[in-house]
Symmetry: C2
Subunit: 306 residues, 2 copies
C-alpha cells in the first residue's frame, strides 16, 4: 500500500483515532500523522506510547499543513472543534469525521468548512467497549465497514482518496446518504445500545438479585449486553441526543413488538413464540454468511477467558 496523504491530523485521541494511527502506520498510508486531544493527560499518554508522529498542544497546530483532518471527537463536540480549526485549514485539504450520526454532524460542521476545503463525512462501523488513547489497535478496521456520506456535488477526487485511506486501513467502504445512514444505524447500533444499557440498568436495580449474582451468572446471555453497555458514556449520550428521531422511532417499534411477545408469554401462545424465534434465527445465518462474525462454537474465545 502506498502513501495516500502527506499529513493526516487526528483531532481527538480515543479508540477510533488511536486505531487509525496504528492502521495508517501499518500500511504506510501517510507521511506524517499529527494528533491533538483537549486533555493534557491524553496528550501525555499519547507521547509516552508513541501514538502519532507528533502530538500537538492545540488543534490549530495539529491541522497546520494537513491534507486530511479527521475529527475524532464525540458528536456533540464536533461543532466547537470545526469552528476552532476553520481558519487554519489549507485550501485543497479534506476534512472528515468518524461520528456515529451523520445528519447532525453535517449540520454542525459544514458551516465552518471554508471555500476550497472538501468535507467528506465518514463513519467506521468498528469499536470495542474500551475508550481512550491506549485502547487502539491496528486491526480494528480489518474487514469492517466504513460508510462515506459525501454531500451531493462533493469533489469526487477527495472522496476517492478518503476511500483509499480506509481501504488501506483494512476496511470495506460504501457510500450512503446521511438520512439513510442515520436510520440504518439506529436499527443496527443505536437502539440495540440503548436496550442493552437499559437491561443492564434493570439488573443493577433489582434488590432481590445481588450484583454479584448478576456478574457471576452473566454468561447466560446477559454478558453480551454488558459489553455493549460498557461503551463510552459521552459518545453514546451524544449519539442519542443527535439521532433522536430515528432512535425514538425504532424504540417505539421495538416496544410494540415486545408487548406482543409479552402477551404471547402471558397467554401461553407457544406457536407465536416458536415462529418468531425461528424467523430471527435466519438473520443470524445471513450474518455468518456475510462474514461479519465467527461461527466457531466457542466464539473464538480461549478457554480460560470464557
Amino acid at each position: 500500500m502506498s502513501q495516500v496523504y502527506d499529513r493526516v491530523a487526528l483531532i481527538g485521541l480515543g479508540l477510533i483515532a488511536s486505531s487509525m494511527f496504528w492502521a495508517i502506520k501499518r500500511a504506510g498510508l501517510a507521511g506524517e500523522v499529527t494528533g491533538y486531544s483537549r486533555s493534557a493527560k491524553t496528550r501525555d499518554t499519547a507521547r509516552q506510547i508513541g501514538l502519532c508522529d507528533r502530538v500537538c498542544d492545540s488543534a490549530i497546530e495539529a491541522v497546520k499543513d494537513a491534507d486530511l483532518v479527521v475529527l475524532c471527537v464525540p458528536v456533540g463536540a464536533m461543532e466547537a472543534v470545526a469552528q476552532e480549526i476553520s481558519g487554519a485549514l489549507n485550501p485543497g485539504a479534506t476534512v472528515t469525521d468518524v461520528g456515529s450520526v451523520k445528519r447532525h454532524v453535517i449540520q454542525s460542521v459544514a458551516p465552518y468548512i471554508p471555500e476550497g476545503v472538501h468535507f467528506v463525512p465518514a463513519h467506521p462501523l468498528a469499536g470495542t467497549e474500551h475508550s481512550g488513547p491506549e485502547s487502539g489497535f491496528a486491526e480494528l478496521y480489518d474487514n469492517r465497514w466504513c460508510l462515506l456520506v459525501p454531500a451531493e456535488g462533493s469533489d469526487r477526487g477527495a472522496v476517492k482518496k478518503l476511500r483509499s485511506l480506509w481501504e488501506g486501513m483494512g476496511a470495506n467502504v460504501e457510500e450512503m446518504d446521511a438520512d439513510h445512514h442515520d436510520l440504518v444505524l439506529s436499527v443496527t447500533s443505536h437502539a440495540p445500545h440503548l436496550i442493552a444499557y437499559t437491561m443492564v440498568g434493570v439488573a443493577d436495580d433489582l434488590s432481590r438479585v445481588t450484583d454479584s449474582e448478576v456478574i457471576k451468572y452473566s454468561a447466560a446471555g446477559f454478558r453480551d449486553f454488558t459489553r455493549i453497555a460498557a461503551s463510552d458514556p459521552t459518545m453514546w449520550r451524544d449519539v442519542f441526543l443527535t439521532n433522536k428521531d430515528a432512535t425514538l422511532e425504532i424504540l417505539g417499534r421495538f416496544t410494540e413488538e415486545l408487548f406482543a411477545l409479552q402477551r404471547a408469554i402471558r397467554t401461553g401462545d407457544g406457536e407465536q413464540l416458536f415462529d418468531y424465534f425461528t424467523r430471527t434465527r435466519a438473520i443470524r445465518r445471513g450474518i455468518i454468511e456475510a462474514g461479519q462474525d465467527t461461527d466457531a462454537p466457542d466464539f473464538g474465545r480461549g478457554k480460560a477467558s470464557q
Copy 2:
C-alpha cells in the same frame, strides 16, 4: 480425575448432552455413557460421529442400569420423558436435568421419581447459538457455572456425586433454591434473550432498511443480539412459557426503565443519559474481574472473522 459414575444415560442429544459426553470422556468420569434421542436422524448422526459409547433406540433401554440419568430435553418435554423412564430407574440411581427453568421442571419431573431414586435438578450456564448432536464440544463447561437445585432433604451423597461430575467437566458448582434460580436467570438470561429476539425481529420487519443492510452493518452492536436471537427456538419457547411470572416481571421493569430513557432522549436530558451509561459501565468491569469474559480488545476473535 477419576470415575464418578459407572453408567451415565443422556436423554436428548443436543448441544448440552453432546458437550457433556465429550467432557465426561475427556476426564474419564464415567464407565459407560449411553444416549437416546427421540429423533432417528439424531441417533444416526450420534452413531456416525461416535457420540456416546452406546446409542439406544429407546429411553428405557438407555437408562437401564444407569446410576446417573441426565434429562437433556427442552423444558416442555421433561414430564413426558420422566413418565416414560420412571419404571426403568434403578434404586439408588440419581436423576438430574439441565433445564434453564427449575421450579417448573421440579413440578413436572418429581412426581415420576420412584422411592429410592434421587432427584437433583441442575442447570449448567453455558451454551452457544448452535444446537443438535454435532454442536457439542468438550470445553463448553470449562470455567462456567453449573447451579444445582436440590430439594430440601435431598440425599447429600447424591448431590455431592453430581457436583463431582460437573466439576470434573470443568464447571464451577453452586447450590441455589429453585425460585431464586428462576428469578436470577430471568434477569441474566431469559429477559435478555426475549429482548434480543425482539430487536432482531424489528430489524427484519423494517421495510425502509433492507435485510442485507441489517446484516452487513451488524457489527455495530446488533451482532451480539443476533447471536443470542439465534438460539434454539423450541428451548426458548419452553423457557418463556415455564418461567412466565419472573420473566414478565423483569420485562415490566425493563419497559419502565426504557420509557424513562426514551423520555430523556426526547427532552434532551443529556445528564440523565450520561449518568445511566456510566453506572452500567461499572457492571461490565465486575464481569471482567470475575473472569466471566475476556477483556481482549478484539474480544479474542481472529482478524478474518471480525
